[in-house]
Amino acid sequence: MSESFDAIVVGAGPAGNAAAYTLAQAGLAVLQIERGEAPGAKNVQGAILYADALERLIPDFREEAPLERHIIEQRMWVMDDESHIGTHFRSNDFSRPPHNRYTIIRAKFDKWFSKKVQEAGALVICETTVTGLLRDGAGKVIGVQTDRGDGAVYAEVVVIADGVNSLLARKAGFRAELAPKDVALAVKEIHFMPKEAVESRFNIRAGQGVVIEMMGKITQGMMGTGFLYTNTDSISIGVGVMLSDLMAQRLTPWELLEQTKAHPSVQPLLEGGEMKEYAAHLIPEGGFHAIPRVFGDGWVIAGDSGMFVNAVHREGSNLAMTTGRMAAETIIDLARAGLPMTAEHLAAYRRRLDDCFVIKDMKKYKDLPDIFHANNQFFTTYPELVNGAARTMLTVDGVDKRSKEKEIFACFRERRSLFGLLGDAFKLWRAFR
């Protein structure tokens, strides 16, 4: 391979596929390189697909994409060891097309997305690992080195979408090594069962789905969350915690997952299912402050490689698709104007991101990771307190309600003190406002 392309896209996840699709649609000569056996073979997600980001690329995706269930109900559970308390939001509105969110199985979905990329005219090569970026004497990226054939392929610009670990960006010095406090490890399993079982357990009809987000003791005092998603005839169950917390204790990730599955609120939902895969993946949760420089001479970076994840709202794949698309749109503009792919011109990519929800949302929550790191009571003390409060109020035992209220307030004051409670409320208000 000594061919030259307008653009090379490294990786066939949501960011890489969005970029390759957009570039190929515009008529650019695109090579996309993926290390898995097929697109999706190396990719892991919960997985929720937000329709909007994909709709902007492929407006009629609902007619052919392999979607599992559209989400009509979201549950948030705050858990202690024996209980959960929380909120449900369910609306018939979410049952009316066009649906807003879907569960997907990434291996299936990514294969479909890649087919669209190929139909748009991109050349997609799998089973090929990109081992490095090629640069000219001035440092401009001019192509990639692969582990196939003679290895080198050249292009005007390289879209780095090789995922959270981004070995490429790190090797080139475009990004620092991930810090344990900026990244979460999520482990998950998929359990298959008849679709009737899924529907009766979650009180849903064919095609409808439920999402459960879990926080509290489920992460054993670590900063993180658990999740349960309903697919057509399977359930994805997982838990994620920050690596800085994981490395400071002795519980392994699979033990943590087993404890999540064994929680009395979760266990009956999984009963009788057949576990068919165990997966793990890092999630870049460092937020706004962790975003590296996203462009340079001959390169742009998109998706997880660029740390684009909104951990508060569990959004990642939509940010990946959006950053991939905007990187591509920037490149298309430059190509059409006959401008070189230099840092000066590619800076327009960052400006595009600044002007849309990607950077606006990440900026809004920029201080939240630090607050949760420094205040682990949000993952331990409070879940126990609120569950205890509900248990006290709902246990009918001859004690009058005013005495119960006093007991609950005394518990809160004893565990967090009056100043602690006010301080915590203030911290949360400041971080979320």
């Binding site: 999706g40 690596l243 165990y278």
Partner: protein, 94 residues
Amino acid sequence: MSVPKVEEKLFQNRYVIDAGHPHIRIVDPARCRSGCRQPCLVCCPAGCYTLDAGEVVLITDGCLECGTCRVVCLARNLEWKYPRGGYGIQFKFG
């Protein structure tokens, strides 16, 4: 609660093993012995790192390619690459 071994979970996964070409290598085993808290033993979700007579042993066959070990190895004592194209974990569902 009896916790199943991680091997029972990994058994459900599909791997294409690149025999003789491990993609992760401990650079200097001596540095794992002296003064390191060995977070790899706890954090690796596939249990690839085990302790044998005080020595950290790495077997990459069950690796899920997540990158955790590299991030928690603050001594930067790992040479960490992706497997050659087409090898390693191939997720059926992801």
